[in-house]
Amino acid sequence: MDASHFLMFLVQRLIKALGVVIGVVILAFFLVRLAPGDPALVIAGQSGAADAQFLAQLRQQFGLDKSLGTQLLIYLKGIATLDFGYSHRVQRTVGSLIAERLPATILLTATAFIFAVSVGVTLGVLAARRVGTWADSLITVIALTCYATPLFWVGLIFILVFSIWLNWLPAIGMYSIGEDLHGLAFAWDVAQYLVLPSLTLGLFFMALYARLTRASMLEVATQDFVRTARAKGLKEGPIVRRHILRNALLPVIGFAGVQAGTIVGGSVLVETVFAWPGVGRLAFEALLARDYNLLLGVFIVTSAMAVVINLITDVIYALVDPRIEVGA
């Protein structure tokens, strides 16, 4: 694949991606409005007393008195200038709210992702290399257990064991409040808070990668080109690394792309169980309060991220297996 070919591919994909994001914006705009109730009603209801005047005031302030089409136009205009609008409930710009919460989610999910891929693939390779032995059985059992156990339950057990019984790791929040830490001390502090939630979030995918890698390795190992390599007298190490693993990783990469794309949605539960101040919970709260602008903002940012990650996955795919035509 030469450079210009690759560039063309990138431009094409970016245009497609933009189309997808715009489609998501419009679809999401109407989808969130399908839910019964609107933000004015929620706010009025929560205030414990309301009259028609109060509701009308709120609706006018939120722009809900305009027609849906006008609302969509105003919204699209804002998005075009990266203005995600205003959360009237919280009285902050949606952009600032997401910017404040997104890093926490990215940190959590990226750590979980790295953990899941590295440990999962390693375990999968180990199991495949020692297929039929006790090590293989052990890894398979671990993977199956992690695969079958619900996230929130794992989280609670972690809290019980590591926070309450052993008192090794903190369970609530993202860093120590009121310590005023900086630099390395702060990083160390956050790292301790990060362990349990990222493990909880990562275990399920780790199990998936382990199973996927193992099965894929075993399948590839039976193929002709591996036999040919062996016949040529290559050593076992290079055969495993360059012939088997490289080919076996393709489905794993595909799956990693999927995981990376769904990462924000999947973190809602873990963010709840560990009081992790991330964007997943922000979206959940926004949904309950019918905070349209905020919910849409999170939708758009996360779907844009998913699209970008998809793109990156495709590129990596092509790099791992040059036979795959990127332009196709």
Binding site: V42, A44, G48, Q91, I164, I172, T272, A275, L282
Partner: protein, 536 residues
């Protein structure tokens, strides 16, 4: 009322696990660290707030959590004793003229806002005549009755009413009429004022930091007008979305106080048994949340008072109190809570009797069909957390005994509010604050002039000219005796006609570390400013 407790919904599934986790945890010593709580001898009260409030300015937002948090920053002219007597706050004294129309408030001197500007009578006038009439729907009628409010001098405000309004004096605490700074709000778009993000009040604590979804931190205001107060250096409200985790935080000492929605009533027995904690259920006298089964009075056969009475008799309120709420609260006996003024103790709901209820339904011409049921109704459960689901299950079972089949409809909070507002329900559950006086907090539910397509009005569509007349008489009477007579009449009629089925006078448990003192001292409990709270 109405606090959105739906945050619990997500964690409900994990509740099953809580039983395991909680049981195990309670068997273990509390070793959970709380490094920040006692760092460097600073007195920091770590507590929680559920759910996270949208802003911390009461008046502009009136959700429960906003009132709890905001009352540390903002103060009212008065506060109220547990028996609802007025006590000084920003006003050091007050007089009511012999015409029952003139109220004179003498303000404390030397009060400053957190930004250093002096607090004066002008601020009070601005709040009474401009700010609250615009943003506070609950106060609109009360404040519209003000003929004039004048600052006679920087420390004196004279209010003249158009007509006598006896409960007027109950409208001045921090949760109802908090004083917001005129110099920041005058001439601005109040609801979107930047000061809503950086609140400036007169309270003992000033705004420190708010990390959305993580914590809210208030710090001691050094120039607070009461010398030697506050004694706490900081209050940190942690946002902990999962109820199990809130239990863990409390049990482990990571927080020293849980209140309001933090801990569900069915977890209270667990905390009652712990030696380092104290459980209080007072401090809700002004709000007096009263729970009831909300009946759409337009729906047949619910338009028949006999049927509503039968439904009421099928319910064992003591079971609800003791088995579902574990003793937190009281059984309701009339439409007016026992802590609210003009409660008539001689009025009683008909006693629990399934046999009597069955008889009433037979008399109403609603015999059992072959399958044992008489009729079916839609029933929306209140989406405010696990305990309301359990109540819903009990009600279904109780009504089943008299042949009334309920088809449960699970909805989220926004949907619930919309459907109640649109009268699109047969039965649901609700709880509503009473605000100390029936004219303020009870009248709105039953008068025909308040039949509106808006939640927390007379959505049930109940209408009785006698009730309307009695409420009006009570509203317009200046004398307590006349009002008592009117309200006694109202209570008798309402209990007879049963437009809703009253269940419990609710309370919320306040669970505190024993080292924490002076937390609940008034009718508004944890909504006080915490100037006098100490952490030993």
């Amino acid at each position: 009322m109405a606090v959105d407790q739906t945050y619990r919904r997500l964690s409900r599934r994990s509740l099953i696990k809580l039983t395991a986790a909680g049981g195990l945890a309670s068997a273990l010593p509390s070793t959970f660290l709380c490094p920040e709580a006692l760092a460097q001898g600073r007195k920091v009260l770590n507590t929680m707030i559920t759910p996270e409030p949208p802003i911390a300015v009461p008046g502009i937002n009136n959700q429960g959590p906003t009132l709890i948090v905001g009352s540390k920053l903002f103060e009212g002219l008065l506060s109220y004793s547990p028996r609802l007597g007025a006590r000084p706050a920003l006003a050091k004294s007050w007089e009511v003229g012999s015409d029952d129309l003139t109220y004179t408030f003498n303000l404390q001197t030397g009060v400053t806002w957190h930004d250093g500007k002096p607090f004066s009578a002008d601020d009070v006038v601005f709040n009474l005549t401009k700010l609250h009439p615009e943003v506070n729907p609950r106060l609109r009628a009360t404040l519209a009755n003000i003929e004039s409010a004048v600052a006679k001098d920087p420390a004196t405000v004279v209010i003249k009413l158009k007509t006598p309004f006896e409960p007027f004096i109950l409208n001045f605490d921090a949760t109802t009429l908090p004083m917001l700074p005129k110099h920041l709000y005058e001439g601005t778009d109040v609801r979107n004022n930047p000061a809503n993000q950086n609140p400036v009040g007169t309270g003992p604590f000033r705004f420190g930091e708010w990390q959305r979804g993580n914590f809210i931190r208030f710090v001691k205001f050094d120039k607070y007008w009461q010398p030697g107060k506050p004694t706490l250096d900081e209050i940190v409200y942690r946002i902990i979305p999962d109820s199990n985790l809130r239990g863990v935080a409390l049990q482990s000492g990571q927080v020293q106080m849980a209140a309001f929605n933090d801990i569900e009533a069915f977890d209270v027995p667990r905390f009652r048994g712990l030696p380092n904690l104290e459980v209080a259920i007072n401090g809700w006298e002004l709000f007096a949340p009263l729970s009831w089964i909300d009946i759409n009075n337009r729906v047949k056969p619910l338009d028949n008072p006999k049927v509503r009475r039968a439904l009421s008799m099928a319910i064992d309120r003591n079971f609800i109190l003791n088995r579902l709420w574990f003793g937190v609260g009281k059984v309701a006996t009339s439409p007016i809570c026992s802590s609210t003024k003009f409660h008539d103790a001689s009025v009683r709901l008909p006693a629990f009797s399934v046999a009597e209820a069955n008889k009433l339904l037979d008399e109403a011409g609603l015999p059992r069909k072959a399958d044992g049921t008489r009729f079916e109704l839609r029933f929306m459960t209140l989406p405010y957390g696990e305990i309301w689901n359990r109540l819903g299950e009990y009600i279904r079972q109780a009504f089943g005994q008299i042949g009334v089949k309920l088809n449960a409809e699970a909805v989220d909070a926004a949907t619930w509010a919309r459907r109640v507002g649109e009268w699109d329900y047969d039965l649901t559950v609700n709880f509503v604050y009473q605000w100390g006086d029936p004219t303020i907090g009870v009248e709105r539910t039953y008068v025909s002039s308040n039949i509106q397509k808006i939640t927390f009005t007379n959505t049930m569509g109940y209408s009785n000219p006698k009730v309307d007349a009695a409420f009006l008489k009570a509203r317009q009477s200046a004398k307590a005796e006349d009002r008592q007579a009117a309200f006694s009449e109202v209570q008798k009629i309402l209990v007879d006609e049963m437009p809703v089925i009253w269940l419990l006078e609710l309370a919320f448990p306040t669970i505190t570390d024993k080292r924490l003192k002076n937390v609940i001292t008034s009718a508004t409990g944890i909504h006080d400013n915490f100037a006098g709270v100490t952490l030993g």
